[in-house]
Symmetry: D2
């Protein structure tokens, strides 16, 4: 697509992650010459946008790259003429996340911001906004790519696939993080590691691991049993049981702990909640406050190292790699969330899947997996995908019946009476962000 | 297939259910002129076989139908030349069932003889025996139909489909029982009720209900909410929540209570187990003892009414209806377990499914369902079918990895650490019936 | 659906076939108590409608059944409140059929009214009209069944499936005719013969033949080789080669002669055309004229025997059987054209297929075929179905590109240059019935 | 796979193409350091093997690369320990090809060495030999890749996929040739051209054409209409009709002329055959004789320019590119013939397809096509693939029924009576190479 100008709009630009992204654009300027970068946020995020925007300006100025940065609350202006729209917004802010985690916990269920009942609530809030953005794009930037980071990224991407013609890719830092963790276990450079990942967002398996082109999957699994370091920062580092890992024959992703170690994870969360009355969201609120204090320092013109505690490591790298590959028609291989279209024949064609793709100027082209997807993987993917399908329908149509069925079959809920109670709490406590649902009386 | 002779072999002939079957053959003699009926059992069932066999003789003699009855421990002789082989055996007897129910309960899981970890244990014990019977049939009665009643009937049927060329149908009393319950709710004759059922054994939905050919599904669901009487005798009669029933849009089967009402069912079981130290199997052991006392009465020449407490109502009716339709090339519609072959395109082709079929002299021919199978049904069926697929593999190959994965993804287990503990207990406590597995040390 | 009244509208009521249908309704009155029968036709068919309508009146009067007959040119009035709408119209009359046969012949191709380029032309003319009828039905009789006899019945049915919500079944006399021919070969009553037919309209195979419930397919094929009488009246009675029949392993339908005996059939047609300048349509025009002369006789009050020469034997029987089974919720098995929905997994879900179905009050429910569909059948069905898919698109959208591709891949054309010439002739000579296409200049 | 040694065995090493291959290995030595190169042929090709082998030696010697070359008639010794086995043999030599072309022509059909009845005959001769080679590989070089050039490459590859565990890729010069032709039309460097190709060998379409990453497909098609130069050397350069090309929406491959321009191509062949009694094979026999005269010249130590007339341009390039990408784990994109496995969901999973793949050390990984495969392409692919499936079965099992059905449905035959005559001629005239078939009497 090599053109004279390259405009990128970042929705949710006031996020504490933004300095990561800015650093990425600066470092990669020679291959990705961004001419215009617009950070956009909503009225209630104005102050954060300004703080982070000022820091971004200082970072750009310091390095001297000719990126023109602007800050705005006018989303349509930001989108107009963009080549890429990146979405990293959080509807309802961190306080909504806190509720997403606590409602399920109150009912004895895992409370997590991307999966289970917590991720479900986040999807209901996010999908109407993302589809609104798509409608703006269809009008103002119909050829742009939508690169979505907002969680639950798989479900949000599926909503876009089903309800918009905008070209989109859902992006997660987990695939690149997993390669990093594998490289770490071998103490080698990550460039020597290739992986075949298959599944859906936050529920994928690394089915083949290659070092220097040689398949080491089996020996890796022996090495990985019980090992620490095989998880993302935001998920407790419980090691995998050796028998189970050999049985699975692939490396489960970090988030699989919520499924395969459901009881342990639940106890871990409940303990924290019982003892401190808090969840992960509350910790993050604290980290964020500290970060924004740092960002305000007018002397600061680099990404502060404290950002790493925040949890979104490699997000910037994942995003820049993807945009760079599209812009330069690179045809390299990355793991992203795209329309299934039969690449995993046991999931619906219009589902989103997270899979290795060739990235070129036209977008992401899934590669047929070499390693077989086993019955165990297939079964788990199918039931969670059915949950996702029902969740998209519930979010788009405000349909209670779909919402109830979605939660009833989710493996982290698995009981219709409980599903109903949790659902009613979610609808009540989020009603200001759920105009699509008939408004319940308090 | 109308021939001069008609031989039926009943494996597990010493079952307390047998008088039901005998009554069925007697009543239907004009349409199903059985010439030779062989009841076969194993050495440890010899005494029950003789008791029940004597009663059967008296029943036949009293009515004067020319059925030649014989009792034997020689399974191969019984199978040789048979037109139908009916299997209703219970490997490990009721004491094994008692363990199947108690092991999961000890670990805080639902303990049930056909689904979850309990059904899994039963499948491991039963599949090697049923495949042995198939090998005998391939040699001695290759054109016979295998009509399997042994639970878990869906998994057992799938093992036969995958590992034998014998024509088989898995049979359950639930479909006919459901029609009876619907008729009961309307207080009408069951002959006026037609149903479309779809799913797999013990996990199916009645997706269309017709009275006199008219579709009354929606009005039925309103009537059914909270109603009692919509369950099999062996499952507690908890009514369905109205909102949930409307959301599902179909009548879940009795066994769905273990999924949709998981917590309630578990508490119910745990209470009984805590208070009395017993499970359903223990009750059945008592009922059986009483029944065999009755059967011994040399004056008794009819099926005693007490048999109805036993739980297997309509088994005889289901079996005789099926055999009669094949024998007479009737081409009527019955719900049985057969090879999927694409009729439910979201399940593997070689899976067993429970579905409406046309029955003729060649066997059972699935009919394409008219009502859509919703995402919720699909997701649940897919994960449970993946469990079943892994269970068949584990049972046939004695493969620990498949067994562990099967339990880890079953919705009634759903945790790999727990799955491992339960699996190890099952293998240990059943080792005398599981020669296919490497023998664990005690 | 048993109701007090039963209204049937017959579109194309002025057809010479109508006395067949009237006879069928009269004979079956006790099981199918038609209260209102409306024959409707277009202005240019007014005279035929009146002739045939008067005959129908006399037939009804003579037998005394209380069917109320009416004749009309007002299609909407005829449809309003109907329970069944039967379509047997011929857009462009027999003179259009004559052109359909002659255009391909002029270019050295088979000219046939239902398949190849001739059937293609007929589809282009018919589909807009049938969809117009569907729109009337959606408004005026949304619960009625559309029973379509108009050829090419498979393609026309597919258009309705794809572009209307009206419940429809495409009906052909070939399935019942084939059973008659088989019974004839064995000299037995047709009631003893069952068949499994699979494929698409005018391109199906009888894959299993049962007599008294026993599978005699293989022995039948030996008997059938070279036999006469295995074809419909309108297709020359060339016998099947023994080697080829054994290789196929099933009985090809009458129309398969155009594919498997393409050269022989073409020569046969060309000879007639060369010697007499006529095709089958011209013969039919003669037969029709004679029939209408007979129909005018005010003494005639029965279906005249001469109608049998016309070629549509068993149409009435097929139609009445189908309507009767729906009306009475009979649940018997008939071969009709319905939406595929995966029953033949190698064809698109929204394609029409001709297959054995259970017929009940809700419509037709396909039965999974027992006999395998071989690679040979599959390949031929797939390419002809792709042609049909393109033809439906061309007919609905007036799309030249789809039309050109449809003809280019049809096995009876198979050359793009030739396809273009034939297509251009078809569009030109039919332009008065093809408003959907941009009008070519002469 | 980077190892110390790299052994390549070339079966059919005495081919006139071999100097192309030798030149390729020499030029690419730095990236593909072949240590051992074995040319193997059969007894009847001994003299050609020696001539071409001597030339190869002189070529290697002249450039000084340390490739150790050997010539042998011992195929097993050549295969033992090989990393790659390349097959380019011709069973029955060019005289068999001459018969393959003439038999169909005698019956009024297209006679071509890779498609239609000619390609069918070649497949029957070749498949038993290739499977024999596979059995040797399974024993002597189980991890080697089989790179097959022997035509019909798609059918031969499918036979290997279905009947051997050897990893294989079928390779054709058409994909690279097509990119060259496109570059030629634009007069630009081929490196700037990317293509998406989809289909099966010798029946694929270029569905997307990109120049510098930009999609120019539509404008290319306008440019391509009627253009010359869009064909392989061995196929007459008839241009594509503009209307048809726009309708197809993609560039048909060179061999599509046999389908879309069937009549023109047939006339062209018949004219040559009528006037000169010869076919393309006869021309090639002449070219070959000249080439071998040249090869004998002891002064010659380069590939002579006259080789280009032979027709196999880019074969060497295609082969070396593929082997190089595997050896170096390059992960670039090439179009090869591989197992379908669902990448084209409308073709059987175990079919071979010709499609864009990522090539790495593990082999070829198909990429999901972006451009839709239209109904027209699908229909044609499905019927030809059904022909191929039947041909593989006929070739492996010597099954007359499959052979007859294969030819009967092939679009270039399309008549069962004709198919039988052609088949009987093929079996008779090739009987010395068809031991798998029951031997016909002359």
């Amino acid at each position: 697509m090599r053109k004279k100008t390259l405009k990128i709009a970042v929705i949710g630009g006031g996020s504490s992650y933004t300095p990561e992204l800015i650093e990425g654009f600066i470092k990669n300027y020679s291959e990705l010459p961004v001419t215009e970068l617009v950070l956009v946020d909503v009225e209630e995020g104005r102050s954060k946008l300004e703080t982070v925007g000022r820091l971004a300006e200082r970072m750009i100025e310091k390095t001297g790259v000719p990126i023109q940065l602007s800050l705005t609350l006018d989303r349509r202006a930001a989108i107009a003429g963009a080549d890429f729209v990146a979405t990293q917004m959080r509807i309802g802010l961190l306080s909504a996340r806190s509720r997403d985690e606590k409602i399920p916990l109150r009912h004895g269920l895992i409370g997590q911001e991307t999966t289970g009942a917590g991720g479900f609530a986040k999807a209901l809030r996010t999908i109407p906004v993302i589809l609104d953005i798509c409608r703006d794009m269809e009008e103002l930037a119909p050829d742009a790519f939508l690169v979505n980071f907002t969680n639950p990224a798989g479900i949000v991407t599926e909503a876009v696939i089903k309800h918009s013609k905008i070209r989109t890719m859902g992006l997660c830092n987990l695939p690149i993080g997993t390669r990093m963790q594998i490289a770490g276990l071998y103490d080698i450079d990550v460039a020597r590691v290739e992986t075949e990942m298959v599944g859906i967002n936050h529920l994928n398996w690394t089915t083949r691991i290659l070092i220097d082109g040689e398949d080491v999957t089996r020996s890796f699994l022996s090495k990985a049993a019980g090992a620490s370091g095989l998880t993302m920062k935001n998920i407790p580092d419980f090691g995998w049981d050796d028998d189970f890992l050999q049985a699975v024959g692939a490396l489960p992703c970090s988030y699989h702990r919520y499924y395969y170690m459901r009881n342990t994870m639940l106890e871990h969360m409940q303990e924290k909640f019982r003892e401190h009355g808090t969840t992960r969201a509350d910790d993050v609120i604290g980290v964020e406050a500290e970060l924004f204090e740092l960002y305000k320092d007018p002397e600061l013109a680099v990404k502060p190292p404290q950002l790493e505690k925040r949890g979104g490591a490699y997000y910037s790298e994942a995003a820049v790699n993807l945009i760079k590959a599209i812009y330069n028609n690179t045809r390299n291989i990355q793991t992203v969330n795209v329309k299934n279209n039969g690449i995993l024949p046991f999931l619906p064609n219009d589902a989103s899947v997270e899979i290795n793709c060739v990235i070129d100027a036209q977008g992401a082209h899934p590669i047929q997996p070499l390693a077989p997807v086993t019955a165990q993987m297939r079964g788990l993917l199918q039931v969670v995908k059915a949950y996702e399908e029902l969740t998209v329908k519930a979010a788009v149509e405000g349909d209670y019946a779909s919402a109830l069925q979605a939660l009833a079959i989710h493996p982290l809920v698995g009981d219709a009476a409980l599903a109903k109670k949790v659902l009613d709490d979610i609808l009540l406590e989020n009603k200001e962000w759920l105009p699509q649902f008939p408004q319940a009386e308090e």
